[in-house]
């Protein structure tokens, strides 16, 4: 390690190589603070060459590394490794090119999602994936975790918008996956890289697709007496044949938190709130709106409200997008889950979550992408109470298992990270996991790229999620 750090010092000046406690501590966690790990060093490269040199050095010394953007992962995807380094990509934040004619862009990985859309706006273009943290999170992170967002119901996840990646593989070799052409030859290597949670190296440059900003939006708020009724309304809208840009549900607790945070003007007496947004050409939206109104009329909504102007629409979305963090107002700690169920089984899943929550004696707030069955139960607990975290984790495990039972997934967009590692063997067979591992080994023989994330390691992880995390038992991670 000493000679490794010695060589790092030849790449980075002291002000971009952090080794002292005070500059390492702020990097111990990302958006999941239940897990904290101090890295051996943090480096702040200014260009691709420095990243490549760093990876070569890591490969040579078999030192693991974690590439990190804004550190907003909710699954511990950018949790550092104590014997490894963090490569902070925040200063690689240039939008290298916007090609309005072909509606494409080329960016560095540290560009903030919302900044890309802002840069596209003068050309009438935007980047469609809109994770709730879009004001903060980076394109590199979106790519690594195949992020979604409220509008991925209509426009798809990040993977649908990435055309090419100039990537540094874990040994420092630079390859071009895909390119900025809209169609491509050969296997979908870009697809393999997107959502790989950093296991295949670092994206140096990303070529992506921009979409024309919709001509018009129509945003509807409908409130209901029960979550189930809101879920049924979603089914009714889908059955009518409309494909809205987004369909989101928030329950009473989530409404309360979001309202306290941003005063979005949500109805306060509702058990559930459904946000539906139509977007596109004005004539099409008008026709869809008529159909939408007709189907919502049959759903026993307590109150239906339409955003009167763009400010009101933005406020509705600000409330929704702040909801996770806003729950911090209701409880000192929470765990957010990200399970997916088939849309037709939404009502059933919500009922079971509320039963499981009551059984565990914990409050659960629900905010979710109803249109694609992506649930976000937020389990509230007080970490200062002995055993509370374990109890919350146990409940989270039960919820995820129920999602799997219904034919869904343990994650929709937050990724596996370290948090859901132990559920991988429940979702995938041994053969599936072995195939993943062989691919990983082929690209990263020393397993240095974001080691310990997504793929369970050699030590067989416990199938139960109660008690200490399997990685804690293995001494790889710890909580403070």
């Amino acid at each position: 390690m000493t000679s490794f750090i010695e060589k790092l010092r030849q790449i980075y000046p002291p002000e971009r190589l952090y080794e002292d406690e005070a500059r390492l501590i702020p990097y111990v966690s990302d958006g999941l603070t239940a897990f904290r790990e101090k890295p051996a060093a943090v480096v702040m490269p200014l260009n691709s060459e420095e990243i490549v040199e760093t990876l070569k050095l890591c490969h040579e010394h078999q030192v693991p590394f974690v590439a990190r953007g804004s550190g907003t992962s909710l699954s511990g995807g950018s949790l550092p490794i104590s014997e490894g380094i963090v490569i902070s990509l925040n200063r690689l934040n240039s939008i290298l090119e916007i090609d309005p004619d072909n509606r494409t862009a080329r960016v560095q990985p540290g560009v903030i999602n919302a900044h890309l859309s802002a840069a596209g706006a003068p050309h009438g273009l935007y980047f469609a994936p809109d994770p709730s943290s879009q004001s903060v999170c980076t394109i590199g992170g979106n790519l690594a975790f195949n992020s979604g967002g409220a509008h991925c119901l209509k426009y798809g996840m990040t993977s649908n918008h990435i055309l090419g990646i100039t990537a540094a593989l874990p040994d420092g070799e630079v390859v071009q996956l895909g390119n900025d052409s809209l169609e491509n030859a050969g296997p979908d290597c870009v697809g393999l890289f997107v959502g790989s949670e950093g296991l295949f190296g670092v994206a140096l440059e990303i070529q992506l697709r921009l979409l024309p900003i919709p001509e018009t939006y129509r945003t509807m708020l409908a409130s209901y007496d029960s979550l189930e009724a809101a879920g049924d309304a979603v089914a009714a809208v889908v059955a009518s044949g409309i494909l809205p840009g987004a369909m989101e549900i928030m329950d009473k607790l989530a409404i309360e938190a979001a309202e306290a945070a941003v005063n979005a003007g949500y109805p306060q007496d509702a058990e559930a709130l459904l946000i539906i947004e139509l977007d596109g050409e004005a004539s099409a939206v008008d026709a869809e709106f008529e159909a939408l109104t007709a189907s919502i009329e049959k759903t026993n909504a307590k109150e239906v409200r339409i955003a009167q102007d763009n400010d009101e629409r933005l406020l509705i979305w600000k409330g929704r997008k702040s909801a996770f963090s806003a729950v911090g107002r209701l409880s000192p700690d929470y765990l957010v889950q990200d399970g997916v169920v088939p849309r037709s089984k939404l009502g059933e899943a919500l009922k079971e979550i509320s039963r499981l929550g009551a059984e565990a004696g914990l409050r659960v707030a629900n905010v979710f992408h109803a249109g694609d069955g992506n649930l976000h139960p937020l389990i509230l607990f007080d970490g200062n109470e002995a055993g509370a975290l374990e109890c919350a984790e146990e409940l989270a495990g039960k919820i995820l298992r129920y999602c799997l039972k219904l034919g869904g997934s343990i994650t929709g967009e937050h990724g596996v990270g370290v948090e859901k590692l132990s559920f991988m063997p429940e979702m995938f067979s041994e053969a599936d996991l072995n195939a993943f591992k062989r691919i990983r080994k082929a690209i990263d023989p020393h397993e240095i790229s974001n080691r310990g994330k997504m793929l369970p390691g050699k030590e067989a992880p416990a199938l139960s999620h109660s008690g200490p995390h399997p990685l804690e038992k293995a001494g790889i991670i710890s909580r403070m």
Partner: protein, 418 residues
């Protein structure tokens, strides 16, 4: 966020410091609006990073001296409070933390001298005047002086406006609708006495009687925001005595003073009950001039003959973030005939003035000043309105440096007859 701070040895401000730490969920929504994070790009210079560092220090895991540079870099602009969905009151952590850490701090002689000079001149208009004359002499050699002194001299205007004395009472015009006391402030009184004069005229014209207590002094906010609590309390106590109780509100035209005076209960949390009660009674009456005028129902001036004018409004951090006052000044300005209000980009990002920050951290402050001026210039406004003397001087100064001078006025000056 989980922590292991024991509040027993932190005194009464311990609870105030722990609350924001517990509330922070480390989501990172504060990052893009933080002026230091957005210029430096590293976690220790971000709000959530500093919260982590203060937590570790208060837990006794690292020494306060190790995290000093990152705590010092914070402008205290509180943009993070505005952008925080979890309701973290960062200001209630950083101010007491600075005071706690200051007690353990060994400052260099030059630092001590600089802070001493700062706290002995800025809060005293007459000394400030003398110092500014002295500064103009030293201007040619400013760049050879220690950084802080150099910045202090550079920022001092070449010539100060004539000294202005105030009467003790200004009666309301017409039927009296209310009675207020005005804090005339310290640095502002030397740099731009016209602001308070305009405030008195506008208040009177709106039927408000204005009392200007003779024995008042600096409110102590400057000292408070750099962790010098003792001095701040001394200043506050003097004003508790100076200000009459029989007024509807204590009005200030400086956002920094308003936010500081509204924080008196935190400043006095550690003191005996009498002082704390007094602090609470005083603080509850403090209102920014725009907040007050908006609340009583502002009667706009008759400006039918005035030519139309485009005004860009600059949100002072201590008004927008610390006091959450954004719509009142806009509503007031829009009520004046002929004014078209423009909104600059990056409204939430500090201009770099931040109390004495542009003196103590001149590099970051310069970068922020440059960025703010560029955003304001891009609006194409004829003139800039803002609610704080610090912002006003900083923006004016940096627009001059860039050789594209902007005219910056206090909001109240536009609400006066044109």
């Amino acid at each position: 966020m989980l922590h292991q701070i024991s509040d027993t040895d932190l005194g009464p401000s311990g609870a105030s410091m722990i609350k924001p730490i517990e509330a922070c969920v480390h989501c990172g929504f504060c990052l893009p609006t933080c002026p230091t994070y957005s210029t430096m790009g590293d976690e220790m210079n971000s709000p959530r990073g500093r919260i982590f560092l203060m937590k570790e220090t208060l837990e006794g895991k690292i020494e306060p001296s190790e995290i000093e540079p990152f705590i010092d870099n914070c402008l205290g602009c509180l943009a993070c409070v505005t952008s925080c969905p979890s309701g973290v009151e960062y200001g209630e952590l950083i101010s007491p933390y600075r005071a706690w850490a200051e007690k353990k701090r060994e400052r260099s002689l030059s630092e001590k001298l600089q802070r001493y000079a700062l706290l002995k001149t800025i809060p005293h208009p007459s000394r400030f005047r003398t110092a500014s004359k002295l500064a103009s002499v030293f201007k040619p050699v400013a760049k050879y002086l220690p950084k802080g002194f150099g910045a202090m001299i550079e920022l001092t205007p070449d010539q100060l406006p004539a000294k202005q004395a105030f009467n003790e009472k200004y009666p309301a015009h017409g039927d009296r609708r209310g009675r207020v006391a005005l804090l005339i402030g310290c640095a502002q009184q030397a740099l731009a006495p016209s602001i308070n004069a305009a405030a008195i005229r506008v208040l009177n014209r709106n039927g408000i009687e204005v009392v200007v207590p003779k024995s008042q002094g600096c409110c102590g906010s400057l000292a408070m925001h750099i962790g010098e609590s003792k001095q701040a309390r001394k200043a506050a106590l003097k004003n508790f005595d100076a200000f009459p109780a029989d007024v509807d509100a204590i009005i200030t035209t400086a956002a920094g003073c308003g936010s500081g005076m509204k924080e008196y209960p935190i400043l006095f949390a550690e003191r005996d009950e009498t002082d704390l009660n007094e602090a609470e009674a005083f603080s509850i009456k403090v209102m920014d001039i725009c907040e007050y005028l908006d609340q009583i129902g502002f009667i706009p001036p008759d400006a039918s003959d005035a030519p139309p004018i485009k005004v860009a409004y600059h949100d002072a951090c201590h008004l927008a973030h610390a006091q959450k006052i954004r719509s009142a000044p806009r509503r007031l300005l829009q009520s004046v005939p002929g004014i078209t209000l423009l909104e600059p980009a990056e409204w939430e990002i500090c201009c770099g003035s931040a109390g004495s920050y542009n003196i103590e951290h001149s590099d970051t402050a310069k970068e922020l000043g440059r960025r703010k001026v560029a955003n304001l210039q891009a609006t194409g406004a004829d003139l800039i309105a803002t609610g704080n003397i610090g912002c006003l001087s900083q923006i004016e100064f940096h627009s001059r440096v860039q050789q594209k001078p902007l005219r910056v006025v206090h909001t109240i000056e536009l609400l006066d007859e044109r």
